[in-house]
């Protein structure tokens, strides 16, 4: 028989005759692939969007000069312009603005303050009408003039001459739309969520008078970019970042690599669960079709044709599953993109706008090929097993008994599983992944495979213990179920593995989530001692708010019920990112109001909190407190000095203490605000921190602020409780996308378990017939099968909890620090225990329900006659 006939008459017949199994296996592959595809699309699109923004803003510029969020003096522009080799230089002021009443970052937009009289030499814009602006003279002389992208205008239902209200450093201001841009040139930046203002209007409205954030430079013809870069650095001195757009793109790649590796790891896990399902399905099909294989072999089919037959069957399923996975993945990417972008933005303290989700034809082809190939590879081992089936052996009835060889193989797999978990442990503790990225992949892969191989061994131990415990109890059906599971090791292992990998993933993610959540909540409870926070629109929690003027505090202190704290200039904080050794850090510049709270808001790691904090605020020399991650990055210790680049040059700061803070994984520096304001020439305030006079309620004070300075300056007032709630919800949002990963992993696990349980009922048809023949009722048989499923679900979930929590602890304590920089304490996800067990039992119960019903419906005579 030729192979094509073999596949047509045998392979395709099996695919058609077992539609449930074919559909389940195909869906398993499809769901696994879908998550992988969704994450791949989002990763690719995030990277592209961020790079596109860099290129769009840079335009024709080959070099850009900046000095952090606080910017630098406008006077420097003429110095830059006059440097030999500069053909054109154009200034830029950047700001974040929020639509009136915004409480979310999504209601914000990027402001580009440009000099429209100079822009043409660097950036290009294309207007929807003939000209970007109708009348440049009117536009430039009116600070309310604004140009929007066509996409943003359409989203907000705006047109030329529409009025929009945006929060600025001086409260809400009304702007008039005087131009619309097509999505070309600079208008492609930030996913089109941007507005163009004249540079002076941007300065006036966003508290940047006399300042610039950036100058983009086009070198003169024949001038080497490197030489000009050096000249700029030499002229400007420290405190200025002189960069090329490609350097910024490379930094983006570096930043995203580690983060996206974790996302890819989680999505690969779901894919692995799907492939596991394929392997199980084919393994069982091989066992089920042993007689058929024997017959075909006896009729002259070769071993190779047997392998090819099974592989081709899987090829069809793998291809269909991958194709469906591509479609589902694209849909899923739309659902997850915003959540992932939020999470990336929180991680890197940067705005991430994914302009479009790209799934290129080459990606589609790659996914189809890789998905199909992975499914084929997963089926290869059981297919090879099929090839080894001897015609004579296959003719024997009930040949399926675990031989010594199988026992030995099973023991070897347990040892391998243990060894892989041991490797995971050592590799994570020693942080081998930082030495070679290959170790990172190996470690993460080992953690899953190790748990999958070693987990069933623990399940058997638990089942044995459970058997001993329940032996005296009058629960015969439960005991039979337990004994069945113990006896059918191969089957039980397959079922447990299918379910456990999904639950293990859930537990691993829960460990990371709860560690972040609990660490930050404990920290907040310890250090956040103020009663009220006052700021402008935006999100307080990641300091993504419109900064306001410091003078506002004087008006706030006039409100009855607010206790004057601080040293005259108020109780304000300015939170900004700065660059240090090419890495983005967070600076928290705080006023000396800490004294009022007995310095409880200074989270010193060790030493006398009050003494160190006093020394910090009263120091005559520039001083700082810093987190451990900063000290590691700077290779400094407490007591030493570290030089920071400021717009006023290189300034040495004495490190007076180590603090705990989570504003940035790369490091956080605390500075006394007057020192910061002087060196960075930045007097804006991110948030005011206030205290209530005893006897006054928060609600009364908030109402008074809202009526007075709140209305005037567009301030948002929240209580400490609200702030903490916002923090918790921000953490939840950062991890929101992981919920989808968990759900898909569980769904694939459910499909896997359903598949293997259905098959196991089929395998045990004769056994069930015999049970029925010796007097078992349909209900008892059905309960037995259902009990088996639930027992596997229960013990499988317990093992998943233990192994997931263990690897989760390693992940939190070592991998998060080495790959992302976060230093957080491990917190066991207590809340996840009950839900994981419940999910495990529920999934197993659902998966066991249909096979149990099917088993109960079997006719005795048919069952006894079943081959």
């Amino acid at each position: 028989m030729s192979f094509s006939n073999l596949f047509r008459f045998i392979g395709l017949r099996h695919i058609r005759m077992r539609p449930a199994r074919t559909i389940l296996t195909t869906l398993g592959v499809a769901f696994g692939i879908s998550l992988y595809v969704a994450i791949a699309i989002i990763n690719h699109s995030t990277r592209n969007s961020m790079k596109e923004s860099i290129d769009a803003v840079a335009g024709k510029a080959k070099i850009s000069v900046s000095a952090g969020v606080a910017g630098f003096e406008e006077a420097k522009f003429e110095i830059i312009r006059a440097i030999e080799g500069v053909e054109s230089a154009v200034p830029l002021v950047e700001a974040r603005a929020f639509f009136e009443g915004a409480t979310e970052s999504t209601d914000g937009l990027q402001i580009m303050g440009v000099d429209l009289l100079q822009e043409a030499s660097v950036r290009t814009y294309k207007a929807t009408d003939q000209r970007i602006i109708e009348d440049p003279l009117s536009f430039l002389n009116q600070p309310d003039s604004i140009i929007l992208t066509k996409a943003l205008a359409a989203k907000r239902n705006l047109a030329i001459d529409s009025k929009i209200r945006l929060s600025t450093a001086d409260g809400v201001r009304e702007f008039t739309v005087r131009g619309l841009l097509e999505p070309e040139g600079a208008a492609r930046a930030y996913g089109g969520t941007l507005a163009i203002l004249d540079i002076d209007a941007a300065r006036v409205n966003f508290g940047k008078e006399g300042k610039l954030d950036r100058v983009d430079i086009v070198p003169a013809q024949g001038v080497a970019v490197e030489a000009l870069e050096k000249r700029l650095r030499d002229t400007l001195g420290p405190g200025y970042a002189v960069e090329r757009p490609e350097t910024q793109s490379a930094q983006i790649d570096k930043l995203l690599d580690s983060y996206q590796l974790i996302l890819t790891f989680f999505s690969t896990l779901a894919l692995l669960v799907g492939l596991f399902l394929v392997m199980n399905s084919i393994s069982i099909a091989v066992a089920e079709r042993k007689r058929e294989i024997g017959t075909l072999r006896a009729l002259g089919a070769t071993r190779v044709s047997m392998v090819v037959l099974f592989v081709t069957e899987v090829f069809v399923i793998g291809f269909l599953g991958s194709a469906l996975g591509c479609v589902l993945g694209k849909l899923l990417s739309h659902r997850l993109s915003h959540q992932v972008a939020t999470s990336v933005a929180a991680q890197f303290q940067t705005r991430v706008e994914i302009s479009r989700l790209e799934f290129t034809p080459s990606q589609i082809v790659f996914t189809l090929v890789a998905g199909t190939l992975a499914a084929v590879l997963a089926a290869l081992f059981p297919a090879l097993k099929a090839a080894k089936v001897h015609p004579l052996e296959s003719m024997k009835r009930h040949a399926e008994t675990a031989g010594e060889a199988e026992e030995a193989r099973s023991r070897a797999l347990i040892v391998l599983g243990f060894a892989l978990l041991a490797f995971t442990t050592v590799s994570m503790i020693q942080q081998w992944g930082t030495v070679w990225v290959g170790f990172d992949y190996l470690t993460k892969g080992s953690s899953v495979l190790g748990a999958a191989l070693f987990g069933p061994f623990i399940v058997f131990l638990l089942l044995r213990g459970f058997g001993a415990l329940t032996k005296p109890l009058p629960l015969p059906i439960l005991r039979i179920s337990q004994e069945n599971l113990m006896r059918s090791r191969r089957r039980t292992t397959a079922n447990v593995m299918a379910l456990m990998v999904g639950l293990y993933l859930v537990m691993l993610i829960s460990s990371v989530r709860s560690s972040f959540h609990d660490t930050l909540t404990e920290w907040l409870d310890r250090v956040f001692v103020a009663d009220i926070m006052v700021g402008s629109n935006g999100r307080f929690i990641n300091a993504d708010v419109q900064p306001v003027r410091e003078e506002i505090v004087q008006e706030l202190l006039q409100i009855p019920g607010i206790r004057p704290i601080g040293e005259g200039h108020g109780a304000a904080s300015r939170i900004v990112p700065i660059h240090f050794q090419g890495v983005k850090l967070a600076v928290k510049a705080i006023d000396h109001y800490a004294e009022f709270y007995e310095y409880r808001n200074i989270p010193l790691v060790s030493g006398d909190r009050v003494a160190v904090s006093k020394a910090f605020f009263e120091s005559k020399e520039p001083a700082m407190l810093a987190t451990g991650s900063f000290l590691t990055l700077a290779k400094k210790k407490v007591g030493e000095t570290v030089a920071l680049e400021t717009p006023k040059g290189l300034v040495s700061f004495k490190i007076l203490g180590e603090v705990t803070d989570y504003a940035s994984p790369n490091g956080v520096i605390y500075l006394h605000r007057p020192v910061y304001a002087n060196l960075w020439n930045d007097h804006l305030v991110t948030v005011f921190v206030l205290s209530l006079i005893p006897g006054h309620s928060f609600d009364d004070v908030k109402a008074a602020i809202d009526r007075g300075p709140g209305k005037k300056w567009n301030l948002v007032t929240i209580s400490s409780r609200e702030f903490k709630d916002q923090m918790q919800s921000a953490i939840d949002r950062s991890f929101a996308y992981t919920k989808a990963i968990e759900w898909i992993a569980l769904l694939v696990g459910l499909l896997g378990l359903l598949n293997t349980l259905l098959i196991s009922v089929m395998e045990r048809t004769r056994e069930i017939g015999m049970l029925r023949a010796i007097g078992s009722t349909r209900l008892q048989v059905s309960r037995m099968i259902f009990n088996e499923a639930v027992l596997q679900g229960f013990f499988g979930s317990i093992v998943a909890i233990v192994l997931g929590a263990y690897v989760g602890k390693l992940f939190v304590e070592y991998a998060l620090t080495s790959s992302l920089g976060w230093v957080i304490d491990y917190h066991f996800p207590k809340a996840a225990i009950a839900s994981t067990i419940l999910t495990g039992v529920l999934v197993a119960g659902i998966a066991g329900f249909f096979p149990a019903r099917k088993a109960a419906q079997l006719e005795i005579t048919e069952a006894l006659d079943y081959e």
Partner: protein
Amino acid sequence: MNKAIVLALQVLLALSARAGGLSGKEIMTKNEEARRVGEFESRSKLTTGTEGSDAIRTKEFSFWRKVRADGVHNNTFTRFHSPAEVRNEGILIVENESGKNDVLLYLPAYKKVRRVESRQQSGSFMGSVFSYSDIATPHVDEYEYKLRGEAKCPTPESASLRCHEVEAIPANEGVRDRTGYTRSIAWVRQDNFMVVKAEYYNLDGELFKRLEASQIRMVDEKNKKWLAHELFIVNLKTKEYTKLSFGNVKVNGGIPDSIFTQQNLQKVN
């Protein structure tokens, strides 16, 4: 025989490129001399609209122009009076020998002087169809000329007169970038060498703008200087047009050089 025919054709072509003994460059040199009024000031009006639409925008401003010490280049100063949103804005154009003009804009809303970058000078002047470089007068040396021939002057006011037809091509990329034109064709009156009509081609080589000058009157009899009191320019792509009218023209009334300074630009009454 063939050589003789070629030679004869070359001679004919050379002769045809000189009208009445003048080459294209000589005609435009005379044009520059005729319109180079030593000093003049006026109260002017700029009206912009679109063909087929009733909506028009009008700006009123004072205008001062003075030839610099080199006798070739001009300084131009404009102060706006209306509408309200542009009141007190000022524009100072200083033409340089290098060909790179300094254009400074004063914005009263910010009390700041801003520089208009060279490439931006091909952009709209005061939201009109004129560009900054249209307002800064062209100079003979910045172009290469080709005399295309002579014909009846193409505007109603000068219909009874004869005109030279001269094509001008920017002499270098700097001029091309600043003006935004790859070439232009001017109809120059043979009697006084004033341009009555001009057509401008954009960087894609397409006909882009058409200018017509009218109310051409002698303003300085002693030095034989002429001024077109009304200029009408239309953007042939967008159908947008602008009419620039010079009223209350005063010539050689003694404009001090201090008018054309950054200090004066910032000085608002």
